[in-house]
């Protein structure tokens, strides 16, 4: 066997080992416990906040499922949606928000008028770099989109600083 053949053999073996290790790691990670989803944490937070009845908001796109929660009652009832992947641009909250509704964004306990795009982008990149080394299958960082009727003067007063989504 000449040196060229030996080189290709070694390169092929290195490629196989690296790909196999990724597949094996992927299988092992699938067996790790999955961290509760942002949606589930949000529901628990709303229930613990005693804001009145908490009901799911269903969507059929892109797949059927619960995308957020309705909470409270009366004219000032609100809706809260965990942000999806950054590229989805709060699609579900936009779809379910009534016209001219007040929209605010909660990230890391802070309520803001604009989505925390830059801070979230940095956190998502950091997450993607280190997510392979966490002891649970965690979810990407996300924020909460809070929607409430335009007739309400202020957003529902909740202790958002106690919400730990990530």
């Amino acid at each position: 066997m000449n040196s060229s053949s030996r080189f290709w053999l070694a390169a092929g073996a290195a490629l196989l080992v690296s790909l196999a290790s990724k597949v094996i790691l992927g299988v092992l990670r699938d067996r790790l416990p999955e961290a509760p989803s942002a949606n589930e944490k949000l529901r628990e937070f709303l229930i613990a906040s005693r804001v009145g009845p908490v009901a799911p908001v269903w969507a059929t796109r892109p797949a059927p499922g619960i995308v957020g929660w309705r909470f409270g009652s009366g004219v000032c009832a609100g809706q809260a949606f965990p942000s999806d992947l950054p590229g989805n641009l709060d699609f579900q909250a936009q779809t379910h928000a009534p016209d001219r509704a007040h929209v605010s964004y909660v990230y890391r306990g802070l309520v803001e008028r604009r989505p925390p795009k830059m801070r979230l982008a940095v956190d998502v990149i950091t997450f993607r770099l280190f997510s392979e080394f966490t002891p649970t299958r965690a979810h990407e960082p996300s924020y909460v989109v809070v929607v409430y009727a335009a007739s309400c003067s202020a957003s529902p007063s909740l202790r958002w600083d106690r919400l730990r989504l990530n």
Binding site: S4, A11, A14, L15, S18, K22, G87, L89, V124, E132
Partner: protein, 273 residues
Amino acid sequence: MTVSRTSDMSAVTRDQVYTACIVALIANAIAKTVVAAASTNLVGGLIGGLGFSWAFWLSFALCVRLAIASDPRPAGRPDWLIGAACILAAATPIGEVSSAAATGLGLWLTFDRSSSVRLKAAAMVLLAITINLLWGRLLMVFFVAQIAAVDAHLVALIVHTSAQDNRVLMLDGRHMSIIQACTSVENASIALMMFVAIVRTFRPAPRPLEWLYLGAVFAFVVALNDARLSLMARNMSMFELVHGPASWVALNLILTLAGLVGATLCVRRELLV
């Protein structure tokens, strides 16, 4: 023994080392997506390109084809060191590290004066692939809202309605949200990658006029995508039709063709010789 090993090693050429690096880095960068697509639905995944566009696979194949037999000189110490660094990056469990290393390799080979023309051409295709794999996505993480808003306003201009941020008022009074996967830039990066791959294959040394063709392909894809979005903005039945399951396959085909046609026009002289 030492002398024999040294002469053995010197029989391995630069193109062999760098071809192995390119394959190892790209294969590891895409491994997770390919496995996920294949394990969900093998047949559907294969038809759809295993989580990537057909243009991506063609570009990858052309990049490897360019790198093979591009530089028959024996590999030197720097080549082996770079090769070792690439294998190390490919072995990490994070696909993005492989993509970033592929960018580093592409830049090194493009600006290294000792690289042959074909090896530089392979490096440029590699850079175009990493733009699609990593840098375009990174750009999207930061600027997706602005990019989607540009598309939304263009569509609103075409269908004579209004737009707010990434939302377009449809002609039937509903709203349509433009998200990352629908944006023109996301789709154009695929066509541009294929354009670079084909042009560099037939004409390894770049020419300044190529930028014009590249711009034309980009503009064409943006126009095509906004025309598609404008059709969707007419009413819900049109939305369902254009946004249906067959849409991705059709769009994939159209983008592949756009890159192919643009590249063919650009290198028509080389093709006709």
